[in-house]
Symmetry: C2
Subunit: 199 residues, 2 copies
């Protein structure tokens, strides 16, 4: 076999987030929960449903985002950088270290990502004139345009994703997710994996 036909569009270029697209033979969510229950009696199916659906949903969404931004000629990794710079607000500047922290990368990885993106004209990289140890990464107009295009695609996609949910349901879902998020953000797993409150 010359090339892996069948792996075609399933395999995306490297991205910063999970892009695993499960194959078609993956068991359905219900089958999966039933199988785990057979092997592990203590499993709470309600908890497992929430957690597994969250995981699958996110993987599918990341694949979809990757495909969409790829159509704009950027990778998901690059899109993350654009988003972070826009979030910082005008004049859309951050240092490599700060960018690395926010994206959860090492400074080394950031150096290379900025190299690429500067080469593509999405950002500029300059030394800070006031403190020549510091480097300033700034969004170019082209980068800002790319971000806007990607944002438009993403928000259309997200609106479609939630299409089947009523306004009330969207509100409830958002509120429940925010409560879970607070639980993970304001707590750290202890040695046993249990979440211990920090405040």
């Amino acid at each position: 076999m010359k090339d892996f036909r069948g792996w075609g569009r399933a395999i995306l270029p490297a991205m910063s987030e999970s892009t695993e697209e499960p194959g078609p033979s993956e068991p359905s969510l219900d089958e999966q929960i039933a199988a785990y229950q057979r092997e592990f009696r203590d499993l709470d199916p309600q908890v497992e449903q929430v957690v597994s659906a969250l995981g699958r949903l996110n993987r599918r969404m990341n694949v979809a985002y990757g495909r969409q931004v790829a159509a704009l000629g950027i990778s998901n990794a690059e899109w993350e950088v654009l988003k972070t710079l826009v979030l910082a607000g005008a004049p859309y500047r951050l240092g490599p270290g700060e960018l690395a922290k926010r994206l959860g990368l090492t400074p080394a990885a950031m150096t290379h990502r900025i190299d690429r993106m500067a080469g593509e004209g999405l950002v500029t990289r300059d030394r800070d004139e006031n403190n020549r140890v510091r480097v300033i990464v700034e969004l170019t107009d082209e980068g800002r345009t790319k971000w806007l295009e990607a944002m438009r695609m993403a928000s259309d996609f997200e609106e479609d994703l939630l299409q089947d949910l009523s306004g009330d349901e969207r509100g409830v879902l958002g509120e429940l997710l925010v409560r879970l998020l607070r639980r993970v953000e304001h707590a750290q797993p202890d040695a046993g994996g249990r979440l211990t409150d920090l405040d």
Copy 2:
């Protein structure tokens, strides 16, 4: 600086899923939504809340899973393989190709992952006697034990995560997530990124 103290445990060994741990200076969810709205008027804050909370939640959870299974001496990537083999049911066997499809990896990556895991005694790799082109990857007793230990930690963690939600709320959350999941699983984004129904 000799080593990057401060990047310590935040950076985990490579895993199959997103393990990016956002730094402490990342804006809060509300700040993020407000910032995006300033830059992009068409944004629906309710949709953005759901989607962003989903994304953040998943990233945090993956970091937590990674830390937990690391305590058992396995990586998140290895745990994914163990889960997939257990899901296949006794006698816990699958070929590399099938494993790769279900995990969303290329066969090449699977070859190397199986090498490592066979070296660690978590699985065995043998040629199929009936069809010598095929290879059979089978979970060892040690691999099964590791899976069980990881599963126990994971389900404790998941129970803790949902601790603040009542039974009813868990049910509602699960149901809403399953509906979103169905929407992404039964539809494919078209060229414009819109989801088109397949059935």
